[in-house]
Amino acid sequence: MSDHVSPVSLYITIFASLMVLTAVTVGAAFVNLGQFNFLVAMLVAGFKASLVVWYFMHMKYQSHLTKLALAVGLFFLVILLGETMIDYASKDFTPMPPKIDAESEIVKP
């Protein structure tokens, strides 16, 4: 009795779709979508990652606990990113990197 063995054809299709998606993400980068460039890149990368996790890493056949573990991990990553963004988004300030070196008046310690 061994775990679910996926057919080779499945792996090939997943590999092909990953290569296509890479081409898509590179192509999308050359199109000027303004703000949405980043969003598209992340969506494509996220989809590729979920393909790898679901099929290559056999998450499809794992127990609920493993799926839950991954979800918990991503949730806390979102908390880390989200709450730091709350601070930086509400800070209307970009630090102006003053040129601190020998010549300028603001002398290094």
Binding site: E83, I86, D87, S90, K91, I100
Partner: protein, 541 residues
């Protein structure tokens, strides 16, 4: 006449006496004993620095040691106590020893990884002790950049490496506990029949696994900035020191819950056992551990209210920080309700549990002062904060650790320690602690900042009181070492269940077999059933 109790012939300590049998063991109990020895050494070293600090602060002028040495004292005191004593203390010693027998398993899920975690702890410890001996580090245990990256010329990198390595030891312990609790419970041991000690360790492991990597990456970024001159946090190149604080506190606040949650678990066990009554509101106490672990992750910026974060985000984090106080309050109220109509006995572990409830309540409540924005502006980075976290760490975590050690010592060694001196030490610790840290609340509100080796003259009396209390506290900690070691030779044989407790681990012989159970038990009853337990307290006077 009590039948003469004898130490059983076969048990885990008799499985081989060679050094090899200890250093290459896969038995979670032996690994717990080695952890016990290692962290006691670390506690002693950290304590020495604390003595140095209290001597320095006895006089307003900084005349006991130079400023630089004092900075190294409080930095090493912080690093060793936090990363090398408090974080591993209860999980690595009591958790390692007791979780398998408590859930009816023969060992943890990954025994070899458990041993690896011990070796990683030793390597991390050696790095830190090496750095301490050859010069020490003076950045404070928080390593704030740009001082730790460019300003300080002390051994920041070796100590940061030591903490980076010790962090993996904490991750591996957490990982081991999560898989063991999920997959290796005895038949019939459902989640709601688990002892609350196990619930608390499950929540702690969640925090260990999810928090520690973030401090690992923060140390990597600090390392590349300091060693290779990269500019991630360097303000001259546009980097932001506040970003370091965000990443540091994302781990370090949940880390304080790694330190306190196991002690909450121990106290639930002690209160229930010594009032011979099932814990009041079992599911509420169990879920409050999980709630503390999860809420612990969303509140970290209450350490940064004055660090230049925006007003809006300060309000968001202050609001969330109050959410963490609720589960702690629920636990304290449930312990109080457990005592109601119980059969309370005042053994040494129960004295520690009493001390814990008192001090943890004060520690938790003073947390409310610091979460309140208006007050935190005034008391941040003063001795008020020092007093708050010492009430939680020393009053809570260490009292819980000592309570747990006194409670399970008969199970670990099979022998009982001296009853009178252990009660004296419990009282000394409680009294010494309060004299040491209560004046610090007052001197903190007066405005004495943290990490000062000299202070205005008018604050001297309060500091001298604190230093006096520290000596009583120090003595209170030395006593247990003496009577624990003596009990190994001359202690009374304790028998399998000296306290009449209801846990699964009390139904095996003490000290237990290497494989914990001859026969994996089938669990039927509720977790805290005292009616059917043979209440043979052989030593009740």
């Amino acid at each position: 006449m009590l039948d003469k109790l004898r130490i059983p012939e076969r048990h885990y300590l008799h499985e081989g006496h060679s050094l090899r049998s200890w250093l290459l063991t896969k038995d979670h109990k032996r690994i717990a004993i080695m952890y016990l020895m290692s962290i006691s050494v670390m506690f002693f070293i950290g304590g020495l620095f604390a003595v140095g600090i209290r001597f320095e602060l006895a006089t307003p002028q900084g005349d006991f040691v130079t400023a630089d040495t004092y900075n190294k004292f409080f930095t090493m005191h912080g690093i060793i106590m936090v990363f090398f004593f408090l974080i591993p203390s209860i999980p690595a010693v009591l958790g390692n020893f007791l979780i398998p027998p408590m859930i009816g398993a023969r060992d943890l899920a990954f025994p070899r990884i458990n041993l690896l975690s011990l070796y990683i702890y030793w390597i991390g410890g050696i790095f830190t002790i090496y750095a301490m001996i050859t010069g020490g580090v003076d950045t404070g245990w928080t390593f704030y950049t740009p001082y730790s990256a460019a300003g300080s010329n002390s051994h920041v990198i070796p100590v940061a490496l030591g903490i980076f390595i010790a962090g993996f030891s904490s991750i591996l312990t957490g990982l081991n506990f999560i898989v063991t609790i999920h997959r290796m419970r005895a038949p019939g041991m459902t989640w709601f029949r688990l002892p609350l000690f196990v619930w608390a360790h499950y929540a702690t492991s969640l925090v260990q696994v999810l928090g520690t990597p973030v401090i690992a990456i923060t140390i990597v970024m600090l390392f590349v900035e300091r060693a290779f001159g990269f500019g991630i946090f360097d303000p001259a190149r546009g980097g932001d020191p506040v970003l370091f604080q965000h990443l540091f506190w994302f781990y370090s606040h949940p880390a304080v819950y790694i330190m306190i949650l196991p002690a909450l678990g121990v106290t639930s066990e002690l209160v229930s056992t010594f009032s011979k009554k099932t814990i009041f509101g079992y599911s509420f106490v169990a879920f409050s551990s999980l709630a503390i672990a999860i809420f612990g992750f969303i509140v970290w910026a209450h350490h940064m209210f004055v660090a230049g974060i925006s007003t809006y985000s300060a309000m968001v984090f202050s609001f969330l920080s109050f959410s963490v106080a609720i589960p702690s309050a629920v636990k304290v109220f449930n312990w109080t309700a457990t005592l109601y109509k119980g059969a309370v006995s005042f053994e040494t572990p129960m004295l520690y549990a009493y001390g814990f409830i008192g001090l943890f309540a004060i520690g938790g409540l003073t947390g409310l002062f610091l979460a309140t924005l208006g007050l935190d502006i005034h008391v941040h980075d003063t001795y008020f904060v020092v007093a708050h976290f010492h009430y939680i760490m020393v009053g809570g975590a260490i009292m819980g650790y000592l309570g747990g050690l006194h409670f399970w010592w008969p199970k670990i060694t099979g022998r009982m320690y001296n009853n009178f001196f252990s009660k004296v030490s419990a009282i000394m610790v409680f009294v010494g602690f309060n004299i040491t840290f209560f004046p610090q609340f007052v001197v903190g509100y007066l405005g004495m900042p943290r990490r000062y080796h000299s202070y205005p003259d008018e604050m001297q009396v309060l500091n001298v009181m604190s230093s006096a209390g520290a000596t009583v506290l120090g003595l209170g900690y030395v006593l247990p070492v003496i009577y624990f070691l003596l009990s190994l030779r001359r202690g009374r044989v304790a028998g399998p269940n000296p306290w009449g407790a209801s846990g699964l681990e009390w139904q095996t012989q003490s000290p237990p077999l290497t494989e914990n159970f001859v026969e994996i038990p089938i669990v039927t009853g509720e977790p805290y059933e005292y009616d059917h337990v043979p209440a043979k307290e052989s030593h009740l006077v």
